[in-house]
């Protein structure tokens, strides 16, 4: 999949302002960004459901403008909002979705058995969808998107709103798909999800790509190896920060704590103590993608 200068406008509003990326077969690629960054608009263009208004896009080597239907027959989409028929059974939801793709009944039934097992929903096959939990519905949506055995699976915020158990189960299922050679394109605003699942990712902000690389490379590029989190008493926050500003490559003063971006966290903490400062608590941790994300997209709320 290749995009060059890809753009999406709705009237005067520009949702995606010219982005470039390329995703190879079998890769697992993430789009990170705060709400409103243009991730979903990008996914809808890539899924050939929404025509792009500028730039070039090629999916599975084809042009969505002319071959949308053919491309869609070979990709699976897990939309941000579930679109299951609550009144129908789990099984029927899979069956009808397979019929959208014109698959033969027998083939759908065969695949449905395997997919329900995959989604751990075999016991609920004959139940209506309505009373299922959020996690179950999400797993069913993913199972449904696999009924056509897609080469490319697009997941728009697959685990938003799920509890940790459900998220970990979903990650495991997605990891299995990836190991079977399915190309995954994932949007998320969960950093741990991106670190778990993505070989490579881009960070989007305000319709643009602001960084690109593997999770590790992005951390190396945009953050330090370790981060020290210090809590001083509320009124000593700034005082403390000024006294140690020279210790770190970058320092960030938040309302409740001070973050020191350093190469060696323990050494920095020792130096803080040597200078006679006594923070209420100190924590040394590795830099995460979240540090990169916040650095690139800012800490202020976007919507």
């Amino acid at each position: 999949m290749v995009a060059q200068g890809l753009e999406k406008r709705f009237g005067d509003f520009t949702a995606v302002a010219g982005i470039d990326f390329s995703i190879s077969r079998g890769e697992s690629f993430g789009f990170l960004g705060p709400n409103g960054a243009g991730k979903t608009s990008t996914m809808r263009m890539v899924a050939c459901m929404s025509p792009h208004t500028g730039g070039q896009l090629s999916v599975l080597g084809m042009d969505p403008r002319t071959s949308g239907s053919t491309i869609r027959s070979r990709i699976g989409l897990v939309p941000q909002q579930d679109s299951l028929d609550d009144e129908l059974t789990v099984e029927d939801n899979l069956y009808l979705y397979g019929r959208y793709f014109d698959l033969p009944k027998r083939l759908i039934r065969e695949r449905a058995v395997r997919l329900l097992e995959f989604a751990q929903l075999t016991e609920r096959a004959k139940d209506k969808v309505e009373p299922l939990s959020g996690g179950m519905k999400r797993r069913l949506t993913i199972a449904r998107s696999l009924i056509s055995e897609p080469e490319l699976l697009i997941l728009d915020e697959p685990t938003t709103g799920l509890d940790p158990q459900a998220r970990h189960l979903l990650w495991d299922r997605l990891y299995r798909l990836k190991s079977q050679g399915v190309t995954l394109v994932i949007t998320t605003h969960y950093m741990d999800e991106a670190e778990q699942l993505c070989d490579r990712l881009v960070v989007m902000d305000k319709g643009r790509i602001v960084a690109e690389g593997s999770p590790r490379a992005l951390i190396e590029q945009h953050s330090t190896r370790e981060v020290v989190e210090l809590r001083f008493g509320l009124d000593q926050q700034h005082q403390g920060a000024t006294a140690i500003a020279d210790l770190a490559e970058r320092i960030e003063v938040l309302p409740d704590r001070v973050l020191l971006y350093v190469h060696d966290g323990d050494a920095a903490v020792a130096e803080v103590h040597r200078r006679g400062l006594l923070p209420e608590s100190s924590l040394v941790r590795r830099s995460t993608l979240e540090d990169v994300f916040l650095r690139l997209t800012g800490r202020s709320l976007v919507d």
């Binding site: 579930d82 679109s83 299951l84 609550d86 009144e87 129908l88 959208y100 698959l103 033969p104 399915v182």
Partner: protein, 272 residues
């Protein structure tokens, strides 16, 4: 997980070979199976109750005092009008909440559009389903009419295809409004200000010459008038060739034009 979930990505998928619209129609049919009992019994009860109360009860009074309407018993006059009016009501109902629901609540249209199906398939499949539903509704209604002895001509069987066309002509304009609406508040107004007046004044219950002259013209411009006219002519076996050809033409043109407008509205709303 014992086996591979996906055997191979690039292998071409085996398909049945149905066109997109037919797949959509079959999905409606599959979903309908869930409610067909209540839906069918309503289609049966409504004509039984109405024909008994108004056709037989009220009708005997009218026949006694006015000697029927235009030379036929009131029951024979009323029944075809009610049939056409029922087609209007059900077609409009199917084109309001279910359409906006498929966009906003169940989001079924979005699920369909993530597959190889396109908006034209959605529109055509939906309207064909409406035609199928209207065939069922009108066939049941005709059966009830036959039991009341009011189908006076074998031409009455043609009411089934006429109802299919009329159903599309009523449903398509409403669906093309519904798909663009952001909530369901307009639907009550459609019922109050369009469906109910049409139902009451399209010569369903009394002949055209009972209306004041000005309103006669208005009545003749509305779609249900032509549906009633044609249905009544076929059931009574009293064909007025020119007038009935015009009725049919009106319905066919409305069905065709509003199918196109429906296709444009679906595209506008769903492909952004």
């Amino acid at each position: 997980m014992t086996d591979q979930l996906l055997e191979s990505g690039a292998r071409p998928q085996p398909t049945v070979g149905w066109p997109g619209w037919l797949r959509v129609t079959s999905v409606y049919a599959h979903t309908y199976r869930r409610t067909w009992r209540s839906s069918m019994s309503a289609s049966f009860l409504f004509p039984v109750l109405y024909l008994a109360a108004m056709g037989v009860g009220l009708g005997s009074l009218i026949d006694h005092h006015a000697g029927g309407i235009d030379g036929v018993r009131y029951l024979d006059f009323l029944a075809p009008g009610l049939l056409a009016g029922t087609v209007l009501q059900i077609a409009v109902a199917e084109a309001t909440y279910p359409v906006v629901g498929a966009v906003k609540w169940t989001r079924v249209y979005w699920a369909m559009l993530a597959s190889p199906l396109g908006t034209d398939d959605l529109v055509l499949g939906f309207l064909v389903w409406i035609a199928v539903r209207m065939a069922m509704v009108s066939a049941i209604f005709l059966g009830v009419m036959a039991a009341f002895g009011t189908v006076r001509s074998p031409l009455g069987l043609l009411v089934v295809p006429v109802s299919m066309i009329a159903g599309v002509a009523f449903a398509a304009p409403v669906a093309s409004y519904a798909v663009l609406s952001t909530n369901d508040q307009g639907f009550a107004a459609i019922n109050r200000f369009i469906v109910v007046p049409l139902f009451l004044f399209s010569t369903t219950f009394f002949p055209l010459h009972q209306l004041p002259v000005g309103l006669r013209v208005v009545a003749q411009l509305t779609p249900l008038f032509h549906g009633v006219n044609l249905t009544r002519a076929l059931c009574l076996g009293q064909i007025a060739p020119l007038q009935n050809a015009a009725d049919l033409l009106y319905l066919v043109v409305l069905a065709g034009a509003s199918t196109l407008s429906c296709a444009a509205s679906f595209k506008k709303r769903l492909v952004q």
